[in-house]
């Protein structure tokens, strides 16, 4: 068979072309080069070395091609433009100079894009983040789809870094100084319509529905068509790149032109950052520094400052910790137990309290029919109102429409009896923390549910095997420990007993993932992992109060260490009664190691009605509508009664007394096999208990701080306070051998 002429042409073409590109390619449509990105090795596009090299190659070809007047930059992946730079590329560097060089290469590439004589239109569908955004804003024009998946942002700060490829220099010019600071310092995602208002994109395109192709495919095609029109429009001057400035914009530009005003802004922003970060996070300050260098000393200094600061930040322990958390979070969003045999379609929740209703709220909008059962009409309607309010708040913020709210709520059934439980695939009980009640409930439920139904118990401290003791099918019993408020707290701690089947675990993880949770799966035992770590720290906090440390001072020291919430406030949030309950239970289980503070302090507080925020009084007095809070004057009598004579402790000692007990218990959980590994331990501590993210979790903290230094401190405290501070064996092992690390 003779090859046709057409084929032979293609063949000759191939012979002359360089080795086939895998990530970036382009085709010329009339006089527009459509540059398509697609990383074949990943679900998302990242600016990897390969991607960058091929991009430069393609860019050079496009510039050299006389048939091309303009270009469109688009991703062939349906749901992703560029998700960011390749983190591994940064982590592979050993010195800050190497990272600075990476940054400078990026800057150089985007500077060429920015100065391109042929206009380039970025056509954005899906995430356009970090390096992807820096790429897009170097282009001459931006078109984005209004899809919910399309978000723009500079999340580098959350990894302890800064936008290191010109972002700190271009953004302030594009969206104004305040807008740029807001984007870079919060790292938040910006939806397409907001981006248009901010001036970050020029034009919006609606996502399309079913047509002659699948919606995703056709939407990208449509985006490309519109972007090509724009590219042509720029070339033939129908679209002007210099936007007419509105009155407000002119005024704003004028005001920002005054140096004094700019200095005030730097000052205010820096003060705000210091207040929020307690100076524990270097990245925000470096971002301000880089922006300032560019605006005050010109672009050369600005770009240099950006590249150098980027290099410095990449070598900080904070960035290392935050990147570790990022990887951990990704790992904890996967189901390592496989696909469950049957997906949960009907979920029943027992107890419409804060927890129960919160679980309902995060479940009902995921296409799972949810039953919320309580024993009283009052309890039930309070819970239903909570779910409604949660969804209605989203409506007010315009993340969902009122129709979507109503449609979602149609999948929620509130009831007082067990009708319909014969259809339940999973029951989560969130009733009062009392073993007898839990036993009664499990028996009632097992009488009505089908054989495949899973019984999950939401408890913060009762061992699951004790609860499962009342069950006739313990392989279907599992613990699902949610954190309050359920719709805000990302963590879900799943507890398996040695009888829990693998499929039950897989199913619980699948439900949790649907609910949007970051999940750790831990072994059974008193307090599991999270509660068990928190308890000794709270015991130490109580001791400190007994020693006469003011609650406000205690809070300041803990937040100063990096905890988002102070220890005294945390006790109030958790509930003094719950804390007392847990302290007593765990005290019995673990003995004197969990001592320190006197449980009687908490018990007396509960007796007096100081149950924390929910009762209006705890360590503090809470007045509805008032944000500031005063120390509860009545606890002084209680503390006076149980007063301890303090040993001289510096502020730093106070902090390490709290933290070392937390960390030691965490390491012990790993030692005892409660934890599957240090990654889950770090994620659980940070996302569930607010362990300082800049330290990356207890295990990374030991690695960074040094196990030997920690053990040394603990031994010093041990001499004074006794076995509360005895380091566990695993920690001692790490102290002895400095090459031993939890994270490689």
């Amino acid at each position: 068979k003779c090859p046709s002429h057409h084929e032979s042409v293609i063949n000759t073409k191939w012979e002359f072309s360089p080795p086939a590109r895998t990530h970036v390619n382009y085709e010329v449509k009339e006089d527009v080069a459509v540059i398509r990105m697609n990383d074949p090795t990943s679900k998302v596009n990242t600016l990897s070395v390969q991607m960058q090299n091929e991009m430069i190659e393609v860019f050079n070809e496009v510039l050299a091609n006389d048939a091309v007047q303009s270009a469109v930059l688009i991703s062939s992946k349906p749901g992703c433009f560029i998700a960011g730079a390749d983190i591994n590329m940064i982590q592979a560097c050993n010195t800050s100079e190497e990272v600075t060089k990476l940054s400078q290469e990026g800057q150089k590439m985007f500077a060429r894009i920015e100065k391109s004589p042929k206009p380039i239109v970025a056509a954005i569908n899906g995430p356009c983040l970090g390096g992807g955004l820096e790429f897009a804003i170097a282009c001459q024009y931006r078109v984005a789809t209004k899809s919910k998946k399309t978000v723009l942002g500079t999340p580098e700060v959350m990894l302890g870094l800064l936008p290191g490829a010109g972002g700190t220099q271009r953004l302030p010019k594009m969206v104004g100084i305040p807008g740029a600071f807001d984007m870079m310092l919060t790292g938040r995602n910006i939806r397409a319509d907001k981006a248009k208002k901010m001036g970050l994109v020029h034009q919006l395109v609606d996502p399309l529905g079913p047509g002659l192709k699948s919606p995703e495919e056709r939407t990208i095609e449509y985006l490309e068509e519109v972007a090509i029109q724009c590219a042509k429009g720029i070339v033939n001057k129908k679209i002007s790149l210099t936007k007419e400035k509105g009155m407000m914009q002119k005024v704003q530009d004028y005001v920002m032109g005054i140096e004094f005003v700019r200095q005030q802004i730097y000052k205010t922003v820096t003060a705000k950052v210091m207040k929020m970060s307690k100076g524990l996070y270097p990245a925000p300050l470096k971002i301000i520094e880089s922006v300032k260098a560019g605006l005050e000393q010109g672009p050369d200094s600005g770009y240099l400052a950006e590249a150098q600061n980027f290099g410095k930040l990449a070598m900080t322990s904070e960035s290392n910790a935050l990147i570790g958390l990022y990887h951990g979070q990704v790992a904890c969003k996967k189901n390592r137990f496989g696909v469950p045999e049957r997906p949960v379609k009907n979920l029943a929740i027992l107890g419409a309290g804060l927890m129960g209703a919160g679980i309902a709220q995060v479940t009902v909008d995921k296409g799972i029919h949810t039953v919320l059962k309580d024993t009283t009409v009052e309890g039930l309607s309070r819970g239903q109102q909570q779910v409604y309010k949660g969804l209605n708040d989203k409506t007010k913020k315009k993340t969902i429409t009122s129709f979507e709210r109503d449609f979602t709520l149609a999948s929620l059934t509130g009831q007082l009896d067990y009708s319909g439980f014969e259809k339940a695939d999973m029951v989560i009980e969130a009733v009062f923390e009392d073993l007898n009640i839990k036993h009664r409930v499990i028996k009632e439920v097992e009488a009505v549910i089908p054989p495949h139904c899973i019984f999950a118990t939401n408890t913060s401290a009762l061992p699951i095997k004790d609860i499962a003791a009342a069950s006739i099918r313990p392989e279907k019993v599992i613990g699902m420990h949610y954190f309050s408020p359920v719709d805000k707290m990302q963590l879900l701690e799943i507890i398996t007993t040695d009888k829990t089947s693998k499929d039950t675990t897989a199913s619980a993880v699948a439900v949790g993932l649907k609910q949007g949770k970051v999940i750790i799966v831990v072994g059974d035992g008193p307090g599991f992992y999270t509660t068990r770590c928190l308890a000794p720290m709270l015991a130490e906090a109580v001791r400190l109060l007994q020693e006469g440390v003011d609650p406000k001072k205690l809070d300041a020291l803990t937040t100063g260490f990096g905890f988002p919430v102070g220890a005294a406030t945390l006790a109030d949030e958790v509930g003094i009664d719950v804390a007392a309950h847990v302290a007593e239970d765990l005290g019995k289980a673990f003995g004197s190691r969990f001592g320190g503070g006197n449980v009687e302090v908490l018990k007396t507080m509960v007796e007096k009605g100081f149950k924390g925020r929910k009762s209006g009084k705890g360590c503090y007095v809470y007045t509805p509508g008032l944000k500031s809070k005063d120390v509860n004057p009545d606890i002084e009598d209680v503390l006076e009664k149980y007063k301890l004579t303090p040993n001289p402790s510096s502020d730093s000692d106070v902090q390490y007394r709290l933290v070392s007990r937390f960390v030691n218990e965490a390491v012990m959980c790993l030692q005892e096999g409660i934890l599957n590994g240090p990654v889950e331990g770090d994620i659980g501590a940070v996302f569930g208990l607010g362990f300082p993210p800049c330290l990356g979790g207890p295990f990374r903290f030991v690695d960074t701080f040094g196990a030997n230094k920690l053990v040394e401190k603990m031994k010093r405290y041990e001499e004074v306070y006794g076995n509360h501070f005895t380091p566990c064996q695993l920690l001692l092992d790490h102290a002895k051998d400095s090459s031993k690390r939890f994270h490689k």
Partner: protein, 487 residues
């Protein structure tokens, strides 16, 4: 009602089970079962033994006028009254010979919310004839007709007047909710002090009025926006849309000039002239159409004012009877009303995933593509058997998208659960006397116009079967097979 539901269950096409379930639960289709009458002349008749034949005796409409023109000072029931009187006049029907009167309307005038009653009394019908108003967006008068057909089929009535009216020259513009709340509270206030404090609470924001929008309540997307996205999804170009709009206006003009639009009655508007013609027909040139800017999606959209239907005032009315009764009363029926389906969307339950409301709104204007194969299957016909097509033209882009969908195997397989496409209607049979784009589209009245036009075209062109298809907001639609009455 129950039997209708049962019918819809039985009539599910044996396609993939997921679809079948969705249809069973989501769609309420009225299947028209007709009683047998001896039909010998044509081999192809759709009459079935034991099924009552229902006929269209006559259909009329007022001229459809651009809103804000000659009808501007009327009220909706005045227009409906004119259509009813025109029907009475044309048929010489005794005013007490009607069993039931049903009207369709979309934007309701609150003073005459049962516009069917106000119009029929005003038109001189006996006050013993019950009358009610139905609403189902742009297929409201279609529903008025199918409701009537249902009443005849059920043996409750023999003679039905159905119709529709829309009056866009005046729409209810309301005070804001805040203002309404204050005014209602003012009603209940007992003391002067209470009244004064309520009046004092009125702020500027209270005075912003609420305008009715031609938009979906559930998605807040306007119809024009939705049509533009639909056109884009099917790759319908601006040129195709402009060409179709021009075709509609040109054909309408020809039909008007040739006197084919015989359903239009002349109407002496109180205080104004007599109106005898539709005034929205404006054949233009492609160059002029190309000059217009997109009306909804700017700047790259393709739907313009010229390739969309315009806001229209108008009313229509039809006389529907059992064949037996019509013949007994000495009428010569124009057509049989045969199979009819009303569809609701196949809602995808993927909230939060791809924004189901977005997907849903795309289905808004999309019913003809779904309704056509369904009603054909029920009648046992194919596209080729149909001699006359009358599709409602809400937007040129919407019509073109529907035609492309009907002609796509991929679409039929992916979204309709069919093995293959049914094919697009032949353009030489399609909307030959103009359509909603050119004649106008008074939302509530268009359905009766479509059915009457099919009957008239079958008579004129000598065809056997006609098909009506129309879409409506809320993702609903209607399709009906009409058979020529042997002459």
């Amino acid at each position: 009602m129950a039997s209708m539901l049962m019918n819809s269950l039985r009539c599910c096409p044996p396609v993939n089970p997921a679809w079948a379930v969705q249809y069973a639960t989501r769609s309420l289709s009225t299947s028209v079962q007709l009683h047998a009458q001896v039909q010998t002349k044509s081999k192809k008749t759709l009459a079935k033994p034991g099924v009552k034949n229902i006929v269209l005796v006559e259909g009329v409409r007022t001229p459809f006028l651009l809103s804000g023109t000659t009808y501007a000072d009327l009220m909706p029931h005045d227009l409906a009254r004119a259509a009813l009187q025109g029907l009475l006049h044309k048929t010489s029907l005794p005013k007490d010979a009607v069993d039931y009167i049903i009207y369709g309307t979309v934007i309701q005038e609150v003073k005459t919310s049962n516009v069917a009653r106000e119009a029929s009394l005003g038109a001189g019908f006996s006050d013993k004839i019950p009358s009610h108003t139905v609403t189902m967006a742009c297929i409201s008068s279609n529903v008025a007709m199918t409701t009537g057909v249902g009443l005849i089929t059920a043996g409750q009535c023999d003679t039905i007047v159905a119709g529709g009216v829309e009056f866009m020259s005046d729409v209810p513009i309301r005070h804001s909710r805040k203002m309404r709340k204050t005014m209602l509270a003012l009603n209940r206030a007992k003391t002067l002090g209470q009244r004064l404090s309520l009046i004092g609470s009125i702020r500027m924001a209270h005075l912003t009025p609420e305008l009715p929008a031609v938009a979906e309540f559930s998605t807040a997307e306007t119809m024009g926006h939705s049509a533009d996205r639909l056109a884009a999804a099917f790759g319908v170009t601006r040129l195709e849309q402009d060409e179709f709009a021009l075709r509609s206006h040109t054909l309408a003009k020809q039909a008007q000039d040739a006197g084919l639009l015989s359903d239009v009655i002349s109407f002496k508007v109180p205080g104004r002239d007599t109106v005898a013609k539709d005034n929205g027909i404006r054949p233009s040139s492609m160059e002029q159409l190309a000059k217009l800017k997109p009306a909804f999606i700017k700047p790259h959209g393709t739907v313009t004012a010229a390739n969309s239907s315009f806001l229209t005032d108008g009313a229509s009315a039809v006389l529907i009877m059992s064949e037996e009764k019509a013949l007994a009363m000495g009428y010569k029926p124009k057509a049989y009303l045969r199979y009819s389906v009303i569809l609701t969307p196949k809602t995808s339950c993927c909230l939060g995933d791809y924004s189901s409301s977005m997907v849903m709104s795309l289905f808004l204007l999309f019913r003809p593509a779904y309704g056509t194969p369904k009603v054909l299957a029920r009648a046992g016909l194919t596209m080729d058997d149909i001699d006359v097509f009358e599709f409602h033209e809400a937007f040129a882009g919407q019509i073109m998208a529907n035609l492309k969908a009907l002609d796509s195997d991929w679409f039929a397989q992916t979204y309709m659960g069919r093995k293959a496409k049914v094919g697009a209607p032949a353009m030489e049979k399609f909307n030959l006397w103009g359509g909603s784009l050119s004649l106008g589209h008074p939302f509530g009245a268009t359905g009766c116009r479509l059915v009457t036009t099919v009957a008239h075209r079958l008579l004129k062109e000598g065809g056997q079967y006609g098909l009506v298809a129309a879409c409506a907001a809320g993702g609903q639609g209607h399709a009906m097979v009409i058979e020529a009455y042997p002459q």
